[in-house]
């Protein structure tokens, strides 16, 4: 008895060579969806939470990264600059931290009160421990302390610092 077998049943090509393409296409679609779902930028609240968590676990380098990102998203928020400067200072880069704070609390202008207070505090610490005879340094510290007095939140601490500065000037 002759058996006739249809050609299509015997010559069906394998599908496995196409499997990598299927997986790759699914991955591409999935990654695109993931990026779209994540959104353009992380939210301010998310970044603040991550920064606070980094500070809590003493990971100041990571905290610096998140505060830089926050400041880039909200450049008009000097509080971010203050936290950034504090984190930079904890890493050991006080000069850079002072430069960051000076950008939001310039000697000549009004600026952000707490930043003025922090600058005055750092300057006084440095002057007390180092160059007691630096008149220009004491003058800058006084100006920052006076500027900090304009902010109700830092008024008391600024007044106390001013007394130290004036005492050093006598």
């Amino acid at each position: 008895m002759n058996v006739i077998v249809a050609e299509s049943e015997t010559e069906r090509p394998a599908f496995w060579p196409a499997v990598p393409a299927v997986i790759a296409i699914l991955l591409c679609v999935g990654l695109t969806a993931a990026v779209v779902w994540t959104g353009a930028e992380p939210s301010v609240a998310t970044l603040q939470a991550k920064a606070a968590a980094a500070v809590a676990r003493h990971d100041d380098r990571t905290a610096v990264l998140y505060y830089r990102h926050l400041l880039a998203l909200e450049p008009a928020q000097p509080a971010h600059a203050l936290k950034l400067a504090l984190a930079i200072d904890r890493i050991g880069r006080r000069d850079e931290a002072i430069a960051v704070l000076t950008a939001v609390a310039p000697v000549a202008g009004s600026g952000f009160g707490p930043a003025h207070l922090q600058l005055a505090d750092w300057l006084v610490s440095g002057l007390v421990l180092g160059s007691k005879g630096d008149r220009a340094g004491w003058d800058i510290a006084r100006r920052h302390a006076k500027a900090a007095q304009n902010d109700p939140a830092s008024q008391a601490a600024a007044t106390a610092l001013l007394e130290i500065v004036d005492g050093a000037g006598r």
Binding site: P13, F15, P17, A18, V19, P20, A21, V22, A24, I25, L27, C28, L31, A34, V35, T38, G39, P42, K50, A54, D59, R61, T62, V64, L65, Y66, R68, H69, L70, L71, A72, P75, H80, A81, L84, E96, A99, V100, T102, A103, P106
Partner: protein, 508 residues
């Protein structure tokens, strides 16, 4: 008569074409072109097997127009020092010859070859560079979003990824554009070689582009995670190259797999090859050809090609300047003192020339970096490099030259969140002459054309760039700006004098 004439017409374009290919080889995204050119004869053979039966009769009406366009392109390339005109001229010349030999039938048969040759010609005006920049930034942005999902702390801006311990600059090779063009070209080659239907490219090309893009995003992520978590640098060196090669090979394998998928889903049957009997029957001849049009065309091209070769003989040559160490800047410049590397500036100048040198200077509280790099062919806009490094260009003022001095580009920069920068840059040729804009030379009329031509000529010769960068957290006051200007003027004068001295043989 036809083959020698075509050979002469092609030979007339070889000198300028050779300079074009040397430049193309220096662009990593086009390094696939030798393989593509080598594959074209095979594709042409495959195409010619499907030539319809009968004799081939040429059409000199259309061919003349196309050959005229080819000649015009070659001539303009020589007049305006445009290397890009050479492949355009060659493509048009070949198209014209095909039409002259076999008319529309032959042209339609060989259209895949025409498309493959077009892949070797970059778009004019460096639009592919603009695509490169956009693709790089998009890849970094996507990598940043995915790193957020993986809880890797990072901050992306421009083509830079800041991680807690480092700043990762995503170079061109990581942006995807280098392998994108190569993979797309080979995808098209695959489709033509296997005689797939044209609609197959509607799946293959987007799929290939997606594979390359996401593979490179994955590479960026791997490198960032390796650096952040394990302090392993995969962005430079042999590991980076191997990773790139592996990803390219994987993408090509996926393209083959996608082609197989298309065949299974939509029965993309490869065209059956004609049988031997059909080939014998199909074998026609090229008829109706006269010798004089070919001789005339060859003569015109040879004369033009000779003139173009003579005019562009010294253009786009290698830089004759020595390694950058020969241009050591003075220890004192305009009241600024040179400092060593132990007192690093917060940011360094962005330099991209093959030869480069950086030096830092201090004056009071100000710290600035001077950068020298070369060679560049054509105007090199330094602000592009800064934009890729995450800087925003806030303002740019092009200062006209004072006397024999440079035309200075004065740029204000800002990088989130707080960094502010001031940058000046200028370019000079290897004789120490400062590059100037046509507007500085009063180029507005017939005289303007002459000046424009001389400027185009100058752009075909190597240029060197000098720049000064100052970065801080505050904007410079008027006094600080003046000090930076003085530093740049003195540094530029010193550098140009040394370049000129080298050019005149006084320095060896």
């Amino acid at each position: 008569m036809v083959p020698p004439a075509v050979a002469l017409m092609f030979a007339a374009q070889v000198p300028l074409l050779w300079k074009f290919f040397i430049d193309l080889w220096s662009r990593p995204q086009y390094e696939f072109f030798p393989i593509l050119l080598a594959a074209i004869p095979f594709v042409a053979t495959v195409c010619l097997r499907e030539l319809p039966a009968g004799d081939l009769r040429g059409g000199w009406g259309v061919a003349t127009v196309v050959l005229l366009a080819s000649w015009a392109s070659l001539a303009l390339g020589g007049i305006f020092y445009l290397r890009w005109a050479a492949p355009v001229s060659t493509w048009l010349m070949l198209a014209g010859c095909v039409w002259a030999l076999g008319g529309r039938r032959l042209a339609i048969t060989l259209w895949p070859v025409g498309v493959l040759l077009l892949l070797v010609i970059p778009p004019p005006g460096q639009y592919d560079s603009a695509l490169l920049v956009s693709l790089r930034q998009l890849a970094v942005a996507c990598a940043g979003r995915l790193l957020d999902l993986l809880n890797v702390p990072q901050f992306t801006h421009g083509a830079v990824i800041d991680i807690p311990n480092d700043r990762l600059m995503v170079e061109e090779a990581c942006s995807g554009i280098n392998s994108l063009l190569a993979v797309l070209a080979f995808t098209i080659l695959l489709a033509f070689w296997k005689r797939l239907p044209a609609k197959s490219l509607l799946l293959l090309l987007p799929a290939a582009a997606s594979y390359v893009f996401w593979a490179n995003v994955a590479r960026i992520i791997i490198c960032a995670v390796a650096k952040q978590r394990y302090d392993v640098d995969l962005l430079t060196g042999a590991t980076h190259e191997l990773l790139g090669i592996g990803l390219f090979a994987s993408c090509m394998a996926l393209v083959f797999s996608t082609e197989y998928l298309g065949q299974r889903l939509w029965q993309w049957d490869e065209h059956a090859e004609p049988s031997a009997a059909e080939l014998v029957v199909n074998r026609g001849g090229i008829v109706g050809q006269k010798a004089w049009p070919w001789c005339a065309a060859a003569l015109v091209f040879v004369l033009t090609g000779t003139a173009v070769t003579w005019r562009t003989a010294g253009a786009w040559r290698e830089s004759k300047l020595p390694p950058s160490a020969a241009f050591a800047l003075p220890t004192t410049l305009a009241g600024w003192n040179r400092v060593d590397d132990s007192d690093k500036a917060p940011e360094r100048a962005e330099i991209s020339g093959r030869q480069h040198q950086l030096a830092q200077y201090r004056r009071g509280a100000l710290l600035a970096t001077i950068g020298i790099d070369y060679p560049f062919y054509g105007f090199h806009d330094a602000t592009t490099c800064y934009a890729l490094a995450g800087w925003n260009i806030e303002d740019r003022a092009d200062q006209p030259p004072k006397g024999d001095g440079p035309a200075v580009f004065d740029v204000s920069l800002r990088r989130p969140p707080l960094s502010m920068g001031t940058m000046h840059f200028a370019l000079c040729d290897e004789a120490g002459n400062w590059w100037r804009r046509p507007a500085d030379s009063g180029a507005n009329s017939g005289l303007g054309l002459k000046l424009r031509l001389s400027r185009e000529r100058a752009m075909a010769y190597p240029l060197a760039q000098i720049q000064v960068l100052r970065v801080g957290y505050d904007a410079l006051d008027a006094a600080g700006n003046e000090q930076i200007n003085q530093l740049f003027d003195e540094a530029a004068k010193s550098f140009a004098a040394k370049v000129k001295a080298w050019h005149e043989g006084k320095l060896r």
